[in-house]
């Protein structure tokens, strides 16, 4: 278990309970059940307390937690016959973006998402979920294919943002992001987007310009990272807590602002403590959203999607 900074007191209690149990395992005469259970209860109370009123900055940390289920985990658990389709047909295959054909409850769909990787090797391979232009261009290709063969598109968003690299800029990542957003707005099939961790800026928009946008309870979606915002507006990257607060990047605030449609609840202690329940909850939400859109005509889907974005911003946080 990886503990976040604010979970330190919890780590201590859970560590103690674990230690007690380990000691008892080596000594048959020792009965620690009571003490360990008391510690468990204490830990749960503390966990409840910690997760009751999470600050936006803490939510950012949870959204980036390495133990959260990632795109690959959702695809493996929720889809069958996943058939990855690779490459942008121009330059490269971008491993930060997974994509391909799959079945969701037997229905064929196109699934596309950012994958961050789960250990050092895969994180480097996946470029920490930061796509290069080829990732967006592959997504464009797959969305286009989905449109022609009338397959709904499901995107799983989890990226710190686009990759700030020399090659990515030279190969036109701004243009690639713009075209991907444009493709999202053009396709005559249901487009459903779920933000499962970090929705980082343009890299997220390129996949999340959807008919329905859902967010996991502790995921975040923002125009800039709190650290980036702090270093520009506060001239001090250490002011990320203030920046996270000001940016209104939590699922709860975004729903109030009318930017997202649905919040998917996470188990107590976040998706990282209940990976299975989280994945199931995402599956259920996806099922509902797909069913809701499945009988709509292509023109209606395009028109409604555009209108949704044209209307965005007409209500503030006041309500």
């Amino acid at each position: 278990m990886n503990y976040l900074e604010f979970e330190k007191p919890l780590a201590e209690i859970e560590g103690k309970a674990e230690e007690l149990r380990a000691m008892a395992r080596g000594n048959a005469a020792m009965d620690v059940t009571k003490e360990a259970e008391a510690l468990d209860r204490k830990a749960e109370t503390l966990l409840r307390d910690l997760y009751k009123d999470l600050t936006p900055w803490r939510k950012c940390q949870i959204a980036r937690h390495p133990d959260r289920p990632h795109c690959r985990d959702y695809i493996e658990a929720l889809f069958s016959e996943f058939t990855p389709l690779a490459g942008d047909r121009n330059f490269a295959e971008d491993h930060a973006v997974m994509g391909g054909l799959a079945r969701f409850n037997d229905t064929p769909v196109m699934v596309i998402g950012h994958e961050k990787g789960h250990d050092t090797k895969t994180r480097i391979e996946r470029n920490f979920g930061m796509a290069r232009p080829e990732g967006y261009r592959k997504a464009i290709r797959l969305m286009d294919m989905a449109d022609r063969f009338r397959l709904p598109v499901v995107t799983l968003v989890d990226t710190p943002g686009a990759y700030p690299g020399k090659g990515a800029e030279e190969r036109g990542q701004a243009e690639a992001i713009a075209r991907s957003t444009q493709k999202c707005l053009e396709i005559g099939v249901p487009l459903i987007s779920i933000i499962i961790g970090e929705g980082g800026s343009g890299g997220a928009v390129a996949f999340a310009t959807a008919n329905r946008i859902a967010m996991l309870e502790h995921s975040v979606y923002s125009v800039i990272s709190p650290e980036g915002c702090a270093s520009i507006l506060w001239k001090d990257a250490e002011k990320m807590r203030e920046a996270a607060e000001a940016l209104r990047l939590t699922a709860q605030d975004l729903q109030k602002l009318g930017v997202i449609d649905r919040i998917i609840k996470e188990p107590l202690g976040g998706a990282q403590r209940g990976r299975k329940e989280t994945i199931e909850a995402v599956g259920k939400a996806l099922e509902v959203m797909l069913k809701d859109l499945s009988s709509r005509k292509p023109e209606t889907l395009v028109k409604d999607r555009r209108q949704k974005f044209l209307d965005m911003g007409s209500k503030g946080l006041a309500a």
Binding site: G172, Q173, L185, V223, L233, A246, L257, L310, G313
Partner: protein, 303 residues
């Protein structure tokens, strides 16, 4: 929708709002250091007379140079919610907004106008870098949408002059949502088969580059303009190596296939007219600075 109900009453701005430029002031060219006489610089469209460095130019000044006789009609942009997030960094957002309004005399970072360029009717939209670094918030999104709708209503091409540091952080996620919103605006033009020409000026970066400023039918840039998504400093911090000379500048992008053309500000009007008249199937234009077009006869509304 009835186009008449959408019609915006013409306002002639160009004759009255010319910013007073003190005659005795000099500007130092940030590129070559030459001291330039203000009037001379303004007459040269803020391009250094010694080294051709293209300095920032306000949307109004640009429109005065662009449209025949300096005459244009402003297109009304729907108001946006002010400070929807109650954003506060070291200053409150509404204070920053007011300061920018006072300094520029403009409402926000985008101006939309309709008029004729060598008798070629267009709608133009220009971003104002001097207004909070031209940043894209809800007003800028509204301006792009209003510009596209006006172009569609009048069946005219749209020309964008971009200049922006990126999205307006003080509007948080709602600034980010201008990327899809402005993309919808571009689609309106596309569907109406109207040309959309983008002129990228220094600097155009971030979410602006990654949306409406990269979706033109024709992409032109002013010389040496910085055009990028992630800025050079961010990249240098990431890859920890020096970037090549001219990286992310207009000529570099032209070389890498990201632009159609790079054109000098003083030649931009001819350039635009030539391209737009061909795209819209019109006869070649008479080049040069033309006087204002004849006043249009008052619209006759059938009884």
């Amino acid at each position: 929708m009835n186009w008449i109900s959408n019609y915006v009453r013409p306002k002639i701005n160009s004759l009255f709002s010319r910013r007073e430029v003190p005659e005795n002031l000099w500007t130092k060219c940030p590129e070559c250091g030459t001291m330039l006489f203000h009037r001379e610089l303004a007459d040269n469209l803020n391009v250094c007379t010694s080294c051709d460095h293209h300095m920032a130019i306000s949307p109004r000044e640009r429109f005065r140079a662009l449209f025949d006789g300096g005459i244009f009609t402003e297109v009304k942009v729907p108001d946006a919610l002010v400070d929807p997030l109650h954003f506060r960094d070291q200053k409150k957002y509404p204070e920053r907004l007011k300061a920018a309004q006072k300094a520029t005399g403009e409402k926000d970072a985008m101006l939309v106008a309709e008029g004729e360029m060598q008798r070629t009717p267009i709608v133009a939209v220009a971003q104002d870098f001097s207004f909070m670094a031209g940043s894209m918030g809800m007003y800028v999104g509204n301006a792009m949408i209003a510009a596209a709708q006006r172009a569609v209503a009048l069946k005219r091409p749209l020309v964008l002059f971009s200049a922006a540091g990126g999205a307006r952080m003080q509007e948080g996620i709602l600034s980010l949502m201008q990327m899809p919103r402005t993309t919808v605006a571009v689609q309106m033009l596309k569907e109406a088969r109207l040309p959309y020409v983008v002129v990228l000026t220094h600097p155009t970066t971030g979410g602006v580059t990654a949306s409406y400023a990269m979706l033109g039918d024709v992409q032109i840039a002013e010389p040496n303009a910085l055009i990028c998504f992630a800025g050079p400093r961010v990249i240098e911090q990431t890859i920890r190596e020096k970037l090549p000379e001219g990286f992310q500048r207009a000529e570099y992008l032209l070389d890498h296939g990201m632009l159609d053309r790079v054109a000098h500000r003083k030649k931009m009007k001819d350039e635009l007219v030539t391209i737009l008249r061909m795209l819209t199937g019109q006869s070649p234009a008479i080049k040069g600075d033309l006087p204002p077009p004849d006043p249009e006869p008052a619209a006759v509304v059938p009884a």
